[in-house]
């Protein structure tokens, strides 16, 4: 394709081809400092293309495609090309990743041990991971935690942190020195701004960690902490995994091992200050 960008994020290499220069320029700027795919061969190919040749220039709309596609993906305006690229990369992972069990979770590491946080969009898992990375934790990722079925270790996937709506101002205020992407307004998920993981997260991204604690955060409630029983944890994680079914027996074994190996708690919080205190308290009590 006309414009090409390649990158390795954690153990996963991507190649992004685009009909337009701008999304590639943004990716190259935001992922500066990331390595190239190992051996120069990416795991996944992503394509950003115009549905018809004239749609490259007239009301340009970005279709997303690649090795793995969903049939009815809606195009995005060119101004949201960066978001299209990130969505397409996530889609390759969600549909095509078979080496690791994928959990829709953010992950941070301290002393070689990993805290996993999972929840639906709006639970605050991305924001909390970003804030924790300012407080002595290493950011491993805000979207997918990669569980190795052989070792049980969690691998980092520190792609750009996707901050949405109110979380944007919270992160900007807490991390004035951090690098951010352009503010994307009016996306299908509201306002989005990408945060570049700090240098430490990128430098250590090849180092996996041992899962130690699983949290189910929930934003907008009075503070509360509850134990979650293994059966419920298992069911919720099957729903939070995009490839649990496709991984077959390996997926079942990896998830069983994870659920039985670490404690899980649900935390409700009214603001990030409460949440960070809850996290530190639970972590220190391990």
């Amino acid at each position: 394709m006309k414009h090409v960008f390649s990158v390795r994020i954690g153990p996963v290499g991507f190649r992004v081809g685009s009909d337009w220069r701008e999304p590639i320029r943004q990716l190259a700027a935001l992922y500066a400092g990331y390595p190239q795919p190992e051996d120069g061969v990416p795991d996944f190919t992503v394509r950003l293309f115009a549905q018809r040749p004239w749609r490259r220039v007239i009301r340009p709309a970005v279709m997303i495609g690649g090795d793995f596609m969903i049939p009815d993906a809606a195009p995005l305006p060119l101004a949201q090309g960066l978001l299209a690229a990130e969505m397409a990369m996530n889609l390759q992972m969600a549909l095509g990743q078979r080496r690791y069990l994928l959990l829709h979770a953010s992950a941070v590491e301290r002393d070689g041990r990993v805290l996993l946080m999972t929840g639906e969009s709006g639970s605050g898992k991305s924001t909390l991971a970003a804030l924790l990375s300012q407080r002595g934790w290493r950011l491993m990722g805000d979207e997918f935690a990669l569980i190795d079925p052989i070792t049980g270790l969690a691998h980092a996937f520190p792609r750009l942190v996707s901050l949405k709506n109110a979380a944007i101002a919270v992160a900007e205020a807490a991390m004035p020195q951090a690098r951010f992407g352009p503010l994307l307004k009016g996306t299908p998920k509201g306002a989005i701004r990408h945060l570049v993981p700090d240098a430490a997260a990128v430098a250590a991204m090849d180092t996996p960690g041992k899962p130690a604690l699983l949290l189910f955060p929930r934003f907008g409630f009075t503070p509360d902490i509850r134990d979650v029983a293994p059966g419920e944890v298992f069911m919720r994680l099957t729903q939070a995994s995009t490839n649990y079914v496709a991984m077959g027996e390996r997926g079942f074994d990896a998830l069983t091992r994870l659920v039985l190996g670490i404690p899980a708690q649900a935390i409700d919080y009214p603001d990030t200050g409460h949440a960070l205190a809850q996290v530190e308290a639970l972590w220190n009590a391990l």
Partner: protein, 332 residues
């Protein structure tokens, strides 16, 4: 290596895995994208198993093998589910395509991606088979009156059914070409010659299985998935030979289709063949893919799409069919 990034790259490596040693990073990247687009990454992974390659490629292909193995398990389980549902009827159930290849442990099944379960049953048993499947958790995919009536009157299979729990489709065939096609294969002969597998399931005979692959490609479809289907043909010939194949193909009225399938499979994956202009056009269509996995040569593709409809039904009926489809689309 003097091969551009198109379907020929994949064909060349499948034919001669040792040539992969000459690939650079860009070559491997294109090969993987093309193989994925043609749904042949599992086939490629098994074909290259044990040969030298960069570690990153080895990991990608190991994942593809694991994925294909899981797909095989699912396909066999789906066949078993259908067998259990249909066993009380006492009718012969013949597995077709990918599921048959893996059930019989054939080379064509190694690493093959398998989507739907395709079975062949006697036409007079269709109603009973349909009732038994509906009673065991399968449901209609297309609740559309026109499509439903069209399938039942003119097609060689029931409208597709999907299982409500396992989300897997089953295509129940009673012959191997649409009833509207100009050629009428001997459906009773297919069933009579079928070879038992185990547990009451069967597959087509060693000649009929090749005839079916060729019919599917040239007398029915628009050559979509042609690289994979011709790999099937290549593997089946490697394992079964061509003894009696020409006679059997003529018997079904599919001598031309089988002859072409043999030539194209030999051109792509074997020792080459003397090609007609029509064969060359087919190869242009089959290999129309670029190093990004994109479909190329849109006019060639369109030509074969039109041709597939032309072969499938007489002109007046085609006009009526397209008119109805177009009106429905316009309303929607």
């Amino acid at each position: 290596m003097n091969v551009g990034a198109n379907g020929w790259l994949l064909a060349r490596i499948l034919r001669s895995p040792i040539d992969a040693a000459a690939l650079d990073a860009a070559g491997w990247t294109a090969l993987i994208a093309i193989a994925r687009a043609e749904q042949m990454i599992g086939t490629l992974a098994w074909r290259l198993h044990g040969t030298a390659m960069p570690p990153a490629v080895a990991r990608i292909l190991a994942d593809a093998r694991a994925s294909a193995d899981h797909g095989r398990t699912l396909a066999l389980w789906e066949a078993e589910a259908a067998r259990r549902a249909l066993a009380p009827l006492g009718v012969p159930v013949v597995l077709l395509k990918g599921t048959a290849f893996v059930a019989a442990g054939l080379m064509a099944g190694q690493g093959r991606s398998i989507g739907d379960l395709d079975i062949l049953v006697p036409r007079e048993s269709l109603d009973a088979v349909e009732r038994a499947l509906l009673a065991n958790g399968w449901e209609w995919v297309k609740p559309d009156a026109y499509d439903d009536a069209y399938y039942r009157r003119w097609m060689h299979e029931l409208p597709p059914l999907i299982h409500r729990d396992r989300d897997r489709m089953i295509d129940v065939h009673h012959t191997i070409l649409p009833l509207t096609a100009r050629i009428t294969p001997d459906a009773e002969g297919l069933l009579a010659a079928a070879v038992p597998l185990r547990d009451g399931l069967a597959m087509l005979s060693r000649t009929d299985v090749i005839v079916h692959a060729a019919a599917h490609l040239f007398a029915d479809g628009d050559l979509a998935g042609g690289m994979r289907n011709l790999w099937d043909v290549h593997c089946l010939i490697e394992e079964f030979g061509v003894g009696g194949l020409v006679e059997r193909a003529e018997h079904h009225g599919l001598g031309d289709a089988v002859g072409r399938a043999l030539r194209l499979a030999a051109a792509l994956y074997g020792d080459g063949a003397t090609l007609s202009p029509g064969d060359r056009a087919c190869l242009r269509r089959v290999t129309a893919r670029d190093g990004w996995g994109r479909a190329t040569r849109p006019w060639t593709r369109l030509g074969f799409y039109v041709r597939s409809h032309w072969l499938r039904m007489p002109p007046a009926m085609l006009a009526r069919h397209l008119w109805t489809k177009w009106r429905k689309q316009a309303v929607a």
